[in-house]
């Protein structure tokens, strides 16, 4: 697939030693990076680096600047993100970098899984990068949705629930590799279409072709001329779908609701639909 936002392994191999290209592995499982990683890649931790330590929110502009400065990322560097879980976390970090206005950021197609399954080299040496003075922009609110935006969108704009059908219907409360122990209710936001993120990915974690991706959304009856809000459970899988819509297909007016079902499914007094149908406003 040819797209500025996406690079393949051959492109990556040609740029591993380019000091102005920073490969960043993003995964909550820091053991994965510590065990091995793509040569010259650094790591960002989804939780400890990108989440505020107290509030349920992102790190602020100043914290993000301090983080990237310490990691040795400069404003004019090309950032290439990759990770496990079919690039969920890489897509999430990509959205995050875009939120704070980084200029050139890309995703390695297939991420860590495809790299591993293709038998490509992984190393344990951790590179050192000289500190920088990174300057972030203010958050781009056009790509981040909050609960008020979601409530306004019910029945009027596109809501795309990218969780699995069983989570959408309320039969599961979390992905099936996690214990089903959440205290919140199950279901989905009324009128949301269920288009699981996984439909956009091949078995090896790479993205499907642009024609296939377009057909997924058109086939689901989503009018992409309307504003679209994607959500999942905590905003990672929906960042993957946001990446597909906004960055690969070039659809404007797409935002990611990072509060997602953990927030919405715990709100008092909001409408909820259960079962396999979208429900009504």
């Amino acid at each position: 697939m040819s797209n500025q936002a996406l690079v393949d392994a051959e492109w990556a191999l040609a740029h591993l030693d380019d000091g102005k290209v920073v490969f960043i592995e993003v995964d909550e499982d820091t053991d994965a990076y510590a065990g091995n990683h793509i040569r010259n890649a650094i790591a960002l931790n989804w939780k400890t680096d990108l989440q505020d330590p107290v509030r349920r929110d992102f790190v602020n502009k100043e914290q993000f600047e301090a983080l990237l400065s310490a990691k040795g990322v400069a404003n004019d560097d090309t950032v290439v993100l990759y990770g496990g879980n079919n690039n969920w976390f890489a897509a999430y970090a990509y959205w995050y970098f875009k939120l704070y206005g980084h200029g050139d950021v890309r995703v390695l197609d297939g991420g860590r899984k495809k790299w591993e399954l293709d038998g490509r080299e992984l190393v344990s040496e951790v590179p050192s990068r000289a500190a920088t003075k990174y300057v972030a922009k203010e958050q781009d609110r056009s790509i981040r949705a909050f609960r008020e935006d979601v409530l306004k969108a019910i029945g009027t704009q596109n809501l795309v629930d990218v969780r699995s059908p069983d989570e959408y219907a309320g039969r599961l409360l979390a992905p099936a590799h996690l214990p089903q122990e959440a205290a919140r209710i199950g279901g989905h936001i009324p009128t949301a279409a269920n288009i699981p993120w996984s439909k956009a990915a091949n078995e090896d974690g790479s993205f499907k072709s642009l024609a296939e991706l377009k057909a997924i959304y058109e086939g689901a009856g989503v009018d992409l001329n309307k504003d679209t809000i994607a959500y999942c459970r905590i905003g990672e899988r929906s960042a993957h779908s946001w990446f597909v819509l906004h960055e690969l297909l070039g659809v404007k007016n797409v935002s990611n609701y990072d509060g997602s079902w953990t927030e919405y499914g715990s709100l008092v007094g909001v409408p909820v639909a259960v079962g396999d149908e979208p429900g009504t406003a």
């Binding site: 499982d29 349920r56 590799h177 089903q180 990672e236």
Partner: protein
């Protein structure tokens, strides 16, 4: 708040009340040896993707599914294998999946 991310080998059963869970777990092997690198995908009965975990260094994986029939696909460098399993509430379904 836990992440949606997959823990290598699957989440530990420590501190998990298995009585409330429908656990599917097992080991992936090739030529009789546990696969050190690989991924296991859980698909529902219509083959819709539900979850995926990387295997542990001992080739292990674990899912917390709902009761019912599931498809399990193992991916390792150079091969894959597929099987079906029925999960029951309060029980652990153990699988041994050999990739040829």
């Amino acid at each position: 708040m836990s992440t949606c991310g997959a823990v290598v080998g699957g989440v530990s059963l420590d501190h998990v009340d298995v009585v409330t869970q429908s656990v599917i777990q097992g080991v992936i092997s090739k030529n009789g040896t546990p696969a050190k690198v690989g991924y296991v995908r859980l698909l529902d009965k219509t083959d819709e993707f539900v979850a995926e975990v990387p295997v542990s260094p001992q080739g292990e994986f674990r899912f917390f599914a709902a009761p019912g029939n599931w498809n399990v696909v193992a991916l390792i460098p150079g091969g894959s294998a597929r099987t079906t399993v029925e999960a029951h509430l309060g029980k652990i379904a153990d699988l041994e999946i050999a990739v040829s």
